[in-house]
Subunit: 331 residues, 2 copies
């Protein structure tokens, strides 16, 4: 069997590949390990919960409306730490650069990483660089790994019946921005990636109430994240379509592109399951931060095993995890 | 200016690129950061020294005599942790896989990683996988990052005049094995990569005496490592050529390939500067471990700023850091 592009798409097919890649005996350092396929691992160390995570970034193009590969590389890892309840402390950066790459572009990427780090008090402390022949690689690959510390670890599998589902803002912005840019559509700068480091936002939310589960809806989008949370928690979820926040421009661009905004990546959003009595205070905390001003309660956890959406016109349909990813090289 | 292959070679030219890549304001989490360009970073956390490091691996071919890209990916990071005095605790793994890659090869790579982890009690706890079109990438890229804990941090810049220089075994095995294999030379299985996880060896050495500085001579080989240690420590070093351990087969293959074994990568060796009164006990500790049985005292730290080798025939020559790397894609 050979690896194909569907294996990297973050959808169901990817599970086959993950079973191969995660087939290690030495997969857990006494906390949460590779076997859990959560946003990161947890390592208990001297009475602290060290959160540890990594991401490769191959987004194309490397500069796009609202961000670039440097900002994504830093934010992707900071957000995975934040999803586990981890305050980001230190990041590593491994770059593989094709020969012929412009050093001026590298300078822009590094400056962008630095700015994103500054937004949440994290530091990039160690790195490695390899250069490959142009015939071997046509794009820069940026890996980041990150260390954080969690006072209280939050999982993606902690949903309870009755929890309110909150999203921290508009859905689909990143994936639609990338695709619209690739296709050369001009929306007058209205469609921009949402890529952002979420720790300051998540920190406010954690202080405001009892958050049972978090996940950032990156590859595979909201559809993938909400299904993974439901499946791992052993619950069903009902989503109210009318409550899902979308930018009008993103929705119309998605229509033109033939994409479902629920299935494309976000890079600056969090999906939460919150204890019902705390939902309004957590929502208010999110809305008090610029990255959470469009936050909304969009649904509720129920008994069952499916994610159902009550549509705006009064019907019901399942939200399924996407089989593949309609937007390759989105992050 | 554009990036070229020399920028990734681990020699002097790479410094230009590193000045761009490390130009961040947010580069240190209160300990040893990116600015030091050591084998890893140190983050003081709750009274502990957390060591953190990362490496990208693009070795070609991915399977070679003595190892494979999986073993290198785990050992490279474990060894960088060990060089800082860090016991390896947890690793991350980010893979970028070209479509068409054989899943059976991936299984071999993962099994090899697992075995290397098992040799030193570390665990691979978190990961990420991307799949790229074959037109974008012709090889698997494996990034590993790692977390360790150091009771006492060891730097690469701690050499003092009078220190003995110890290498833990034969020099040049990995680079020459890769090149001989690529060129199709058959040495009857005598030339094999030395790739190995060094923490158990380093742990013995640390317990045996006062080690002032450590570095693993990977890209750029012994010549690069010893010069970097001397330059950062502000000292000179005299090396006795007659005391440098080489496999005869490696030396003759290096001659046939036109390579200097001092300038090619090792993946299972450490270069140490040891307080003179402890040199013999540290040497004995190294030799008591299979990965250190060919350890030798090869030189001494002196006043000055050059690395000089007293040749076997009674002359002297400088050992210079290689300008580029004679062996591309060696790790």
């Amino acid at each position: 069997m050979k690896v194909n592009l569907m294996h990297g798409a973050g959808g169901e097919v990817m599970g086959e590949l993950l079973r191969v890649i995660t087939n290690l005996e030495h997969n857990n350092a006494g906390g949460i390990g590779l076997e859990s396929l959560d946003d990161g691992a947890v390592i208990p160390l001297n009475g602290q919960n060290i959160v540890f995570t990594t991401d490769n970034h191959v987004v194309s193009p490397i500069f796009f409306p609202g961000g670039d590969i440097g900002r994504i590389a830093v934010c992707g890892t900071i957000n995975d730490l934040a999803m586990m309840g981890g305050r980001p402390i230190a990041l590593s950066c491994g770059m593989v650069i094709p020969e012929g790459f412009e050093v001026a572009d590298l300078e822009r990427i590094v400056a962008s990483m630095d700015a994103a780090l500054g937004e949440c008090g994290a530091n990039l402390v160690t790195g490695d660089t390899k250069v490959l022949e142009r015939s071997a690689l046509d794009t820069i690959v940026v890996n980041t790994a990150g260390i954080g510390v969690a006072e209280r670890v939050v999982r993606d599998n902690g949903l309870s019946v009755g929890d309110k589902i909150i999203v921290s803002g508009t859905i689909g912005d990143h994936g639609i921005a990338i695709m619209a840019h690739r296709e050369g559509f001009d929306f007058g700068g209205q469609i921009r990636s949402d890529v952002a480091p979420l720790w300051p936002l998540v920190e406010k939310a954690l202080a405001a109430g009892d958050i049972h589960a978090m996940k950032d809806p990156t590859r595979g989008g909201f559809a993938n994240a909400i299904n993974e949370m439901a499946r791992k928690s052993g619950v069903g979820i009902v989503i109210e379509e009318a409550d899902l926040p979308f930018r009008a421009s993103v929705r119309s661009a998605a229509g033109m592109l033939g994409l479902d905004p629920l299935e494309v990546a976000n890079e600056g959003k969090v999906v939460m399951g919150v204890a019902p009595h705390d939902a309004e205070t957590v929502l208010a905390a999110l809305r008090s931060h610029p990255y959470g001003r469009d936050a909304a309660i969009v649904g509720e956890v129920v008994e069952g095993s499916h994610v159902v959406m009550r549509t705006a016109i009064g019907g019901e349909r399942f939200i399924e995890p996407p089989v593949g990813d309609p937007v390759p090289r989105v992050c």
